[in-house]
């Protein structure tokens, strides 16, 4: 028995709790303890190290758009279990859990909002809801948003995050990639601007459709962005992954995105872009 061995301290079975509002939490990047309310006031940016926490759609909407200007479209769409999918857990159970957990019907909210004097169409994905996976509802809402934006000559800002297509909806979900891309083709042909904002994480089917089709693609610092997951790549190729692989900064370096913008500068940068790309319609916006 090692005499000077490290003593094992029992920390008991203290469960990792979901810390309710107004409590403290630990930043995974700098390990500092931060006050939740302070974090919320900074839209989820660590006041100590500027680590960007994931934020839900409501916070994202208030970050990006003028106060109370967001009017949500197509709020009545709901997912159904078309395939009667049962894995270890049924899709319907998963849906119910996520609806209860988030108070939202599905993983994306789309609507119109004002941003720096521009009337825009704004879509915001929410990782809290089933990893923001894209099923029929997500695809339909985004498609409708692009169609309406084309009709009403609005620029589109899409705040992306997603684990990919929603397996529970099988091929119905894969085809949403084509459907949304078709709507974007029409929006683009009408010479309307589309800005895509990639937040942590944006992967797979969403990346291989609307997320990468922006005229301008912006990413948040440190966001994980890619097509295939790191584990799959490692298993398939037996390759070592380069430093910072699939991080926003890696994508910038490889010429895959236009810019990496910290959260507190996002609105200003996007408004500047809109001023250039959407200049002529700005005055009509009010």
């Amino acid at each position: 028995m090692p005499f000077f061995g490290k003593r094992k301290y029992s920390t008991g079975k203290a469960k990792k709790r979901d810390i309710p509002d107004g409590m403290w939490l630990k930043c995974p990047a700098c390990t500092e303890i931060i006050f939740k309310r302070e974090l919320d006031a900074a839209f989820g940016v660590c006041p100590k190290c500027e680590h960007h926490f994931q934020i839900d759609r409501r916070m994202r909407i208030s970050l990006l758009s003028e106060e109370n200007s967001f009017q949500e479209w197509d709020t009545d769409l709901r997912s159904i279990d078309s395939l009667n999918f049962t894995g270890l857990e049924a899709y319907t159970t998963k849906l119910e859990e996520n609806i209860k957990k988030t108070g939202e019907k599905d993983a994306v909210s789309c609507g119109e909002a004002m941003m720096g004097g521009h009337r825009i169409a704004l879509g915001v994905m929410d990782f809290k809801f089933l990893g923001a996976s894209m099923g029929s509802v997500v695809g339909e809402k985004i498609t409708r948003m692009f169609e309406r934006a084309t009709e009403e000559k609005l620029p589109v800002l899409m705040s992306c995050t997603s684990g990919g297509a929603r397996m529970y909806e099988g091929m119905l979900s894969l085809m949403q990639m084509a459907k949304t891309s078709g709507a974007i083709a029409r929006h683009s042909q009408a010479s309307l601007p589309y800005i895509s904002l990639l937040t942590h994480p944006t992967m797979a089917g969403v990346m291989a459709s609307f997320a990468t089709l922006g005229d301008v693609i912006i990413a948040e610092p440190g966001a994980l962005i890619g097509f295939a997951g790191a584990r799959v790549i490692k298993e398939t190729t037996q390759q070592d992954l380069p430093e910072g692989f699939q991080k926003a900064e890696f994508l910038l370096e490889h010429g895959l995105i236009d810019m990496v913008v910290p959260r507190n500068e996002l609105k200003g940068e996007i408004v500047k872009l809109l001023d250039y790309m959407n200049g002529s319609s700005r005055d009509q916006g009010q």
Partner: protein, 357 residues
């Protein structure tokens, strides 16, 4: 076909072995067993028919992956004449996982392209087991845009486990390459006929899969994720691939049922690999039928219809709780004036979008 026997083909193989015994017996013993041989042959045919008419989704996946199944290059060889292969994406490389070029099918000039698998190790190394890099999708788009320029219809053949998951793939932006293809394929105003001939592996398949007609071979599959990948995530064990195959609804008939494909192309009994010649002839017939029908549509109409076709994909509920929106049942194609040859469409009852309310 030693070494390539699928587990469920065992009964057929056993009978074939018995037949061989009988034959050698008749040769050596000089006894007439021709009647027995004939009966055995009938039995083999019957067993093959039975096995292949009752394939489970997981068995179909295995048939779709059969190493002797005809590949894109085989079909191009069998179906088309005067194939002129075009190479490269003009940016980085010539990806051998997607091949393509101009060809003639009967009297139709086409741009034909598709994902390509290899039959042996050397070929598979060359074409990366049918998993394309970004340059593959960019080459495909280059060829399709060229087809659009010269008003040549496009035929794409899909047979891939998926786009290649690798560091270089990511560095050259595989996701963007696929996304751009999806968007651009909605703007090409020449007919596009898509046929899933083997594996329809997720985004890597869809990357050349937007078109005016989507045909699926009887035992091909088309899935949002590989059955193994799905099993690993949702069952926590890849061994549940058979269960995942069922749950994912990835067979040709499933695609028709959900309004995601237009027609099932029947395979010879025993699958495409059992009779390449027959399979190629059938596929050719179907391609020509659809090329003829779609070529009659004006370019504007074509783009509108293609948009509407994909626009209708998806199932969800809307309105007050309890009510569900279904996509319109697939509109009957008015432009299909009397197809030539026999109609091989699947029965109407199977084609209708099932109401699963």
């Amino acid at each position: 076909m030693p070494g390539y026997t699928l587990p469920f083909e065992k009964p057929i193989i056993e009978l074939e072995e018995k037949l061989k015994e009988l034959e050698s017996f008749s040769e050596t013993q000089d006894i007439d067993v021709s009647l027995e041989i004939e009966r055995m042959q009938e039995k083999i045919e019957e067993t093959r028919r039975k096995v292949y008419s009752e394939l489970t989704p997981w068995q179909k996946v295995q048939v779709a992956r059969h190493p002797l199944r005809p590949y894109t290059s085989d079909y191009i060889e069998d179906i088309a004449t005067d194939f002129v292969e075009l190479h490269g994406d003009r940016l980085h490389a010539d990806d051998r996982a997607i091949i393509g070029g101009m060809a003639t099918i009967d009297s139709h000039r086409v741009m034909i392209l598709g994902t390509q698998k290899g039959r042996d190790t050397k070929a598979n190394l060359e074409c990366n087991f049918g998993c394309a890099y970004p340059e593959g999708y960019r080459k495909a788009l280059r060829l399709m845009k060229m087809a659009n320029k010269f008003r040549i219809p496009i035929v794409t053949l899909i047979d891939t486990p998926g786009a290649f998951p690798g560091v270089e793939s990511e560095e050259r932006h595989i996701a963007e390459a696929i996304a751009v293809n999806l968007r651009e394929m909605f703007t090409l105003s020449v007919p596009i006929i898509v046929a899933v001939i083997g594996e329809g592996g997720s985004g890597g398949a869809l990357g050349i899969g937007v078109g005016d007609r989507i045909l699926v071979l009887e035992h091909a599959y088309y899935s949002v994720i590989s059955p193994e990948g799905c099993a690993a995530i949702l069952w926590k064990d890849r061994a549940f691939a058979d269960k995942a195959s069922e749950a994912l609804r990835l067979t040709a008939n499933d695609l028709i049922e959900f309004g995601l494909a237009d027609e099932v192309v029947p395979e010879p009994f025993g699958g495409a690999h059992a009779n390449r010649e027959e399979m190629s002839a059938t596929l050719k017939k179907h391609l020509i039928k659809h090329l003829k029908a779609v070529s009659k549509i004006s370019p504007d109409q074509l783009l509108q219809k293609r948009y509407e076709k994909f626009r209708a994909m998806g199932l969800f509920a809307s309105g007050p709780e309890g009510k569900q929106k279904k996509p319109e049942p697939k509109a009957k194609e008015p432009e299909t004036t009397q197809d030539e040859g026999e109609s091989t469409q699947i029965p109407e009852s199977e084609k209708q979008t099932k109401d699963k309310a």
